[in-house]
Symmetry: C2
Subunit: 295 residues, 2 copies
């Protein structure tokens, strides 16, 4: 295992422990709800977004316990979106990270509620005093995460994605879709480090630009894995977009050009980090990892 893979895994472990503390198992009659919440949030994953939060926060020497709370909140949002996206009325996926999706393991109603609860909990965590001593910083985290996750961000992107099965989208429209659907939360993940560190506008913009390019590269690779990957390695059903006749970067650009584009975006992302010098090496390695990942 490379050093980077090891630090990614160590970070994932720390995030899972933070989530475990913030989402304690319940003894109450509605324990099944908390079981579904924990199943959805603690079930693994590479925790790429939380890694971004923590790596960006380190650029500004932010207290680690603050950074991990924000990382956990971001992951709660990501996990809730997966639970709701997998529902029969949405993408209708039975498999997630190689395990039964939440609505299969439990039931649809419980999956809807578990998603709602995770979404709500993310804001409870960000608003809490332990997230940052300055309440203005906490408020900015709350409003920025809400913007990234809501109708002008992730949820808006998912709405567009549902339409994408019915209309023909071009490259610029798919780009906008993905900027909303996955880019906005990736953007918050990187920028939250700057918010926590009360960083300069320049530093914040650099992280924004890095996230913007890397987010698109991330999505192109996702499309390539859907096209080329096998279910066992990827941990979810593959070939779905093609079967649904959905426009993706791969269907629009072809496999080769899509890969070239992802490489280019990865390089471009890294260039934005120059002002941070070697302190940003973990974010540079993350960019390489994202572009070269096979699952």
């Amino acid at each position: 295992m490379t050093d980077f893979r090891q630090s990614l895994e160590e970070n994932a472990g720390a995030v899972t422990r933070a989530l475990d503390r913030l989402l304690p198992a319940s003894e109450s009659p509605e324990a099944r709800l908390m079981e579904a919440i924990r199943y959805s949030a603690l079930g693994g994953g590479k925790r790429v977004r939380p890694f971004m939060v923590v790596a960006a926060a380190r650029l500004f020497s932010v207290d680690e316990s603050c950074a991990y709370r924000v990382a956990a909140a971001v992951e709660m949002i990501h996990c809730y979106s997966l639970v709701h996206d997998d529902l029969p009325a949405m993408d209708n996926d039975d498999l997630r990270r190689g395990q039964p999706a939440c609505h299969i393991k439990f039931d649809e109603a419980t999956a809807i509620l578990a998603g709602d609860a995770l979404l709500t909990k993310a804001f409870e965590v960000l608003g809490g005093e332990a997230t940052h001593p300055d309440a203005r910083v906490r408020c900015e985290l709350v409003t920025e995460l809400a913007r990234a996750a809501g109708d002008e961000g992730m949820v808006g992107g998912q709405a567009l994605d549902l339409m994408a099965e019915k209309v023909d989208l071009g490259v610029s429209e798919v780009t906008r879709l993905q900027r909303l659907k996955t880019g906005a939360l990736i953007g918050f993940s990187c920028e939250s480090g700057a918010i926590l560190g009360k960083a300069s506008k320049g530093a914040r913009y650099a992280l924004h630009a890095y996230a913007h390019d890397l987010g698109l590269a991330f999505q192109i690779i996702d499309d390539l894995l859907d096209e080329e990957g096998d279910e066992e390695t990827v941990g979810k059903k593959t070939g779905k977009d093609k079967a649904a006749g959905k426009a993706t970067f791969v269907s629009l650009l072809g496999v080769e050009q899509a890969r070239t584009q992802a490489d280019l975006l990865g390089d471009q992302a890294v260039e934005h980090l120059e002002i941070f010098e070697e302190k940003a090496d973990p974010l540079r390695e993350l960019a390489r990892f994202v572009v070269n990942r096979r699952a």
Copy 2:
């Protein structure tokens, strides 16, 4: 129309205008999502919870524009919960406020996303600077609303409610269920006025106690309307709980005792307001209205 009904309607109009400003119609390709959000949030309703926010905030001479933002955020949470509760996998209701439920008017996927977006937007509004000049107050609003709405509040209550169809609950269990499902958000609605006004612990506790009793009275009347009301007046399907064999205050106490209990709780709620003297008259009238409502 009584003076109180008129002031309730005026307040509902002001809340709807605030929601209209906070949820502007969209020109973007995903406009259908915003249409569903606006359909669900602007479609009327008595706006009882927002009335509580504004009436409680007036006790402490809180700036009205701040109070209406919190009122709108509370209503967003209430509306999202109705949209998700009406889904086929949950209560499977086609009718809401005499109109097609969101998933009937649009589709299930759009209804899930519209609910998610409304829930998210509530926190964006609370975190925004216009909600209160003091960021600590805004953070407290965020964390308290999240607690009231999440797994230890409204969502937890809804999870219990789904179980209630399968197990026999007694009065104390139904009381706990309703305290979570409807009581927690009603509690926040009243207490948020005290948070906005940086009120004394005593004043905040009085509002908490008022909300606690009134919330239960509210639910008992809801159960009575489900038992006795007709669909046209109530604006949603009635007789559902009985058909589902679900334990309610009415099935457990009988119609007469349930009504007596609601009256008693209404009186008890009003007693907690004594320290506010005549300034709390709108909250007293609200209690009478809640107990005597027929829809």
